[in-house]
């Protein structure tokens, strides 16, 4: 059995925490940054995590935007739209990404080229 004091304290604690929790969820929703930090591609061969920030930053690998984003994409960061690399498009997203990622890694002699070095299987 708990005392009345303990119960009152618990009620007050629950009320305060509920308010704090609701306010935090309502006022600070998860935001997607304007320029992605890391991108996660979900593929049939497992997830691939791309450190976008390090690739794009001058102090990182300094890859120019148009080396990957060869066309202006409006209001979308997805590559797999119908106009880009969708299932019926040529090349498909997987082909485009493989060409870009692996091609660049091979040309530069740096970065992973083996399947299991990128794909989390």
């Amino acid at each position: 059995m708990t005392t009345k004091g303990e119960q009152s304290f618990a009620f007050a604690l629950a009320a305060i925490l509920l308010v704090v929790g609701v306010v935090c969820y309502a006022a600070f929703p998860q935001k997607t940054p304007e320029e992605p930090v890391r991108l996660l591609f979900k593929t049939t061969a497992g997830k691939v995590l791309l450190d976008h920030k390090t690739h794009a930053a001058d102090e990182g690998y300094g890859v120019a935007c148009d080396e990957c984003h060869h066309e202006e994409q409006e209001d979308s960061s997805s590559c797999s739209g119908e106009d880009c690399h969708g299932p019926d498009s040529e090349p498909k997203r997987s082909d485009a990404l493989h060409t870009n990622c692996k091609g660049c890694h091979e040309d530069g002699g740096a970065g992973p080229v083996e399947c299991r070095a990128c794909h989390v299987m």
Partner: protein, 345 residues
């Protein structure tokens, strides 16, 4: 002398027995009663608020790193846990039990095991599972065979794998250190991929992970505080850590190119929060000395087995739940009762 005629059994040792009148021999010379023999004035609520206090360093580190979303998860989890228990009490017409702080601790633990990006409905569902499925349907505090927050975590991890994939959940965060989840890197790419993590960084909480499980120093300080206060059994915590360390060391010695070292396993994932805040939970852990050592060590062993050769990135939820199931069996290893029954004596 009149002093020699005083009762053999002093009244203040057995207050429930009526004091014998001076001069009369006591009716019984030996009174047998079950434990507890002494009450030190401690309360369940005091213990639970001490556990919350001990968890504070690790929680504050998580909130300082991830900001308001982390605070939201922790606060909402605690509130939902307390409200779930209150509603359950009211629906079943039981006395209200949230005053003992147990529901708040369950909510806090579950919040600490979640990523800062956990949606509100996952927190709500998780706390409901922890409180109702994990604890209340068995009869409430002291009756749960499994650790409630861990049961909820295991069910959520299986049901919503993407939300608990820290690489996916925390992909928008850049906190100035390596932000990939260490255990996921180890699982997917092997020990070569974890060379970028320094043990100092891992120990000081500079790693991706759940809100309250990354700050090793804070968890150890909190754990030592609880052990010194007697709220956590050191036998379970330390044997769990020893189980993780020795198993990881043996794997590492067998093939260091394939398996990470023991310190990496100690400072990553849920290891430290499990050791000090989850494994020693009263109801789901043994009470005797040797069972406690076995329980902790086997949970540690299972944790590393799952991490190194199992399917899941972190083995903590499943290894401890499995050992929770073995708990009643382990507690059968106990001292023999003193004395024996002699017929026709």
């Amino acid at each position: 002398m009149s002093n020699e005629k005083k009762p053999v059994v002093p009244h203040d040792l057995f207050p429930w027995k009526p004091a014998k009148e001076a001069g009369k021999a006591p009716a019984k010379k030996l009174v047998v009663a079950h434990a507890p023999f002494w009450h030190d004035g401690g309360k369940i609520s005091t213990k639970n608020y001490h556990i919350m206090l001990a968890a504070l360093p690790a929680v504050l580190m998580g909130i300082s790193q991830y900001g308001a979303p982390a605070l939201g998860v922790i606060a909402f989890a605690m509130a939902c846990a307390m409200i779930s228990e209150l509603v359950w009490n009211l629906v079943l017409g039981k006395s209200i039990s949230i005053g003992d702080g147990s529901a708040a601790v369950t909510g806090l633990m579950l919040g600490m095991l979640m990523p800062a990006t956990a949606p509100w409905w996952v927190v709500l569902l998780g706390t409901f599972i922890a409180i109702v499925v994990g604890k209340q349907i068995f009869g409430g505090i002291g009756f749960n065979p499994l650790n409630p927050p861990l049961l909820a975590l295991a069910m959520l991890v299986i049901s919503f794998r993407g939300i608990f994939d820290f690489n996916e959940a925390l992909r928008h965060y850049d906190l100035g250190f390596v932000m990939t989840y260490p255990l996921a890197d180890l699982k997917a790419f092997g020990p070569a991929a974890i060379e970028k993590f320094s043990l100092g960084d891992l120990f000081m909480g500079r790693q991706a992970g759940a809100i309250g499980s990354t700050f090793g120093l804070g968890l150890i300080v909190g754990g030592v505080y609880l052990m010194l206060r007697g709220y956590v059994r050191w036998e379970i915590s330390l044997s769990f850590l020893a189980g993780v360390f020795i198993t990881a060391l043996l794997f590492n010695l067998s093939d260091s190119a394939k398996y990470a070292g023991p310190l990496f396993h100690l400072f990553t994932g849920y290891t430290l929060i499990a050791a000090f805040f989850v494994v020693p939970e009263d109801s789901s852990s043994p009470a005797n000395f040797i069972p406690m050592l076995l329980f902790g060590a086997l949970a540690g062993l299972m944790t590393v087995l799952i991490r190194n050769i199992g399917a899941y990135v972190d083995g903590v939820p499943f290894s401890i739940l499995l050992m929770n199931l073995a708990n009643p069996l382990l507690d059968k290893i106990r001292p023999k009762a003193i004395g024996k029954v002699v017929e026709n004596a």
